[in-house]
Symmetry: C2
Subunit: 354 residues, 2 copies
C-alpha cells in the first residue's frame, strides 16, 4: 500500500480523536492540521494501533500525562506529506514511515500528526503500512530491551509478563541470540504456551514456591538482569531472588504500584533498579544506528517480531474499536485506519489487512 | 595510648560478647582466640563503639545476618598482635589500627578480632585509640558518600536523617567542598540545630508542604543525587521530587521498609535507585587510595569528622552500656573497652577518654 505524496495538497483541517480530560469521552473532532517546527515532519496517518499503553494513557494512568485536550495514540504508520524548513528534510517528502508521537503533544489517532524527524523510521518496500503501524511499541522495544542484556554482558536474563506480545518477542529474540531467559507468567496455560514456543525456563508467579524456584534458577544460570513490566512487589521479588550485583529494569507498571526494593538488596548486595523508556533510548542512538536498527527490526517483522492484526476501524468508530480490543486482547492488535472514511472502506480494509 | 606488641604472648582464649540467637541475650564468654588465614591480622581490641547499626544487628534487623553464635560489633580500634603468613604483613605487627569486622564472622566486641588486612587503617600518632575506634562507620562513610556526589559531578545533593552524627558529618564535608546540600530532618529543633551549623537548606519532612518544597528546591539548585538513610516511602518522595536523571543512593533503612520508586520516575524520567555499603566501597579502593583516604579522614577527626564519646564500659557491662546509649543516643558514642578489666580500670578509662 503506497500513498503518493501530494505536496501542497495538505488541507487546513483534519479529523482527529480528541480527549478533553483523562478518563473522559473520546470524540472525533475537526481540528487544524498542526504547524511544523524546523525539524518536524507531518505524517498523513495510514494505520495506528490500540496498545495497552494507549488504554492506560486515556485513563490518565500511563504515568506520563500530556496537557489536555489531546489526541491520544503512541505509534502508527503513514506518509510524510510535509516537512519543516531544515533543508536536509526535503528528501523525506513522500516517504512511508513508522512513526512515534511527540512526548508532549498530539498523537497518532488522527488523519495527520506532527512529529520530530527522529521518531520516524523509513519503511522498506517489503513492509506494509499495517505491519509498520505496530513496529515501535512492541518490536523496537523488544529489540532495545534485549540490547540492554547484550550490551551489559549478562549471561542470562529474567522477564516478567512473558506471555504478552512484547514478552513473546523478547523470548524469541533471546533464543535467536542464544541467551538463556527465565520467563515469568501468571497462569499455567501461559507456561504451556511459552514452553511450546521453545522457552526452556518458564515460572508461574502464582506457584507457592515461586520465589525459591526463581532464586535457585537465577543463581544457576547467572541471570543478572531482569526486564520488568509489572513493578510493585514483583520488582522486589526479582531483585531479592537474583545474584549479587544484579539489576532490574522497570519498563512497565501493570501492577500500577510503586516498585519495591528491599534495602538489604540495595545496600549489601549491590543490586540496582532503573527504568527504561524507548523514547530515551531512541534519542541516545546515532542516526546511522537508528537506520540500521530500523532495517534489522523490519527484517524480523514477518518472523520473530511479528504482530498479528485482528481488525481495523475508522476513527469515528473508536469506541467500538476499544470494546473489540478489550474483549480479545490476546487475539491480535486492533488498528484505527484514519483514511478509512475517505475511500472505499471495504477495499481499503482488505488492502490494509493483507 | 600506645600498646606495645607482645608477639608470642597472644593467649589461647579470650573474653568476648557472644550472641547465640538474634534478639537473644548477650553473654560474655571465654572463647578461643581466632586462627588467622594468610592475609588476616589479629587485632587486640582497645575500644569499640555501640553504633545504631550494631543495635539493629543484634535484633537481627540489620539486613545482613551472620551465622550464629556470633560476636557482634562492626568497628573498633586496637593493635595488631599477630599476622597471617603473607610475608608483606610482617611490618604490620604492633601497628595501631582502626578496624572493621569481617562480613561473615565474629566482630569487634571482644578482646581479640581476626579481620582481613584491607579492613585496617593505620592510626596516626595524633589520633588516640578512642578517636580511632569510631573512624569507620561514621567518618569514613561520610567521606565515601560525599565522594559519590563529587565523582558523579553533581552540582548539589540531598540527604535524609541529616541530624544524625553521620548526617552532620556529611553536612560539614559538603560545606567544605562548597557543594550545596538539602538537609532533611523530622523535627523543628533539628532544623534549628543544622541552621546553626551553617546549613543553608534544611527541610522538615513533617511539614505539610514538604514534598512541594523539596521539589522546588531540588530543581532550583539542581540536586541530582540523594543520600538516603531512611528507605521506604522517603526514597519514593526523594526520587519523585528530584530533577530528570537523578539518583537516590540508599545507605540505611531507618524506616525498616522496602524502598519505593514510582514507575513513572524510573521509566519516563530516567531516575535510578542503588545502594551503598562501605564494605564494598573499601574493596573497590586501591591500597594507595585507601591509605590516602585514611590519612585525610584522620586529619579531620578533630574537626569536620569529630565524634563525641560520652562513656566507656568493660565488656562485662554490655547491658549497662546499651541502656546508657539508648537513653542518650544524641549525647555521643558509648564505647566498650575490652582491656578495662585487665588493668587499673580508672586509669585506663581516664587515658582512653582523653
Amino acid at each position: 500500500m503506497t500513498i503518493s505524496p501530494e505536496p501542497g495538497r495538505v488541507p487546513n483541517t483534519m479529523q482527529a480523536i480528541h480527549m478533553h480530560q483523562y478518563g473522559g469521552p473520546l470524540v472525533v473532532e475537526t481540528m487544524p492540521v498542526p504547524a511544523l517546527g524546523p525539524t518536524d515532519v507531518l505524517v498523513q496517518m495510514s494505520a495506528t494501533p490500540l496498545n495497552p499503553s494507549d488504554l492506560m494513557f486515556i485513563k490518565g494512568r500511563y504515568g506520563l500525562n500530556k496537557p489536555v485536550p489531546v489526541v491520544p495514540g503512541l505509534e502508527g504508520s503513514g506518509t510524510i506529506v510535509a516537512v519543516g524548513r531544515a533543508w536536509w528534510l526535503r528528501p523525506w517528502l513522500g516517504r512511508r514511515v513508522a512513526c512515534g508521537a511527540p512526548e508532549d503533544s498530539d498523537g497518532t489517532w488522527a488523519e495527520y500528526m506532527r512529529t520530530s524527524f527522529h521518531r520516524c523510521f523509513f519503511l522498506a518496500d517489503t513492509v506494509s503500512n499495517v505491519q509498520g503501524a505496530t513496529m515501535i511499541v512492541n518490536p523496537l522495544t523488544a529489540w532495545a530491551l534485549v540490547e540492554q542484556v547484550r550490551k551489559g554482558n549478562h549471561r542470562a536474563a529474567i522477564q516478567t509478563a512473558a506471555a504478552s506480545s512484547l514478552g513473546q518477542m523478547i523470548n524469541r529474540l533471546m533464543q535467536r541470540f542464544k541467551l538463556p531467559l527465565i520467563n515469568i507468567v501468571r497462569r499455567e496455560e501461559q507456561v504451556t504456551m511459552l514452553k511450546e514456543q521453545g522457552a526452556p525456563y518458564v515460572l508461574n508467579s502464582s506457584a507457592p514456591d515461586f520465589e525459591r524456584q526463581l532464586g535457585e534458577l537465577s543463581h544457576q544460570i547467572k541471570a543478572t538482569i531482569a526486564l520488568d513490566a509489572i513493578s510493585g512487589q514483583m520488582t522486589g521479588q526479582l531483585l531479592n531472588a537474583m545474584p549479587h550485583t544484579s539489576e532490574v529494569i522497570v519498563y512497565g507498571a501493570l501492577s500500577e504500584q510503586a516498585a519495591m526494593a528491599h534495602p538489604g538488596d540495595l545496600i549489601f548486595k549491590h543490586k540496582r533498579v532503573r527504568g527504561f523508556w524507548l523514547s530515551d533510548w531512541i534519542e541516545q542512538q546515532t542516526i546511522l544506528g537508528i537506520i540500521q536498527t530500523g532495517t534489522r527490526v523490519q527484517q524480523m517483522l514477518h518472523t520473530d517480531l511479528k504482530t498479528t492484526v485482528q481488525a481495523g476501524y475508522p476513527l469515528a468508530e473508536i469506541e467500538q474499536a476499544i470494546s473489540h480490543y478489550k474483549q480479545q486482547m490476546s487475539g491480535g492488535k486492533v488498528l484505527l485506519l484514519p483514511g478509512l472514511h475517505r475511500t472505499n472502506a471495504v477495499a481499503y480494509q482488505e488492502q490494509a489487512m493483507q
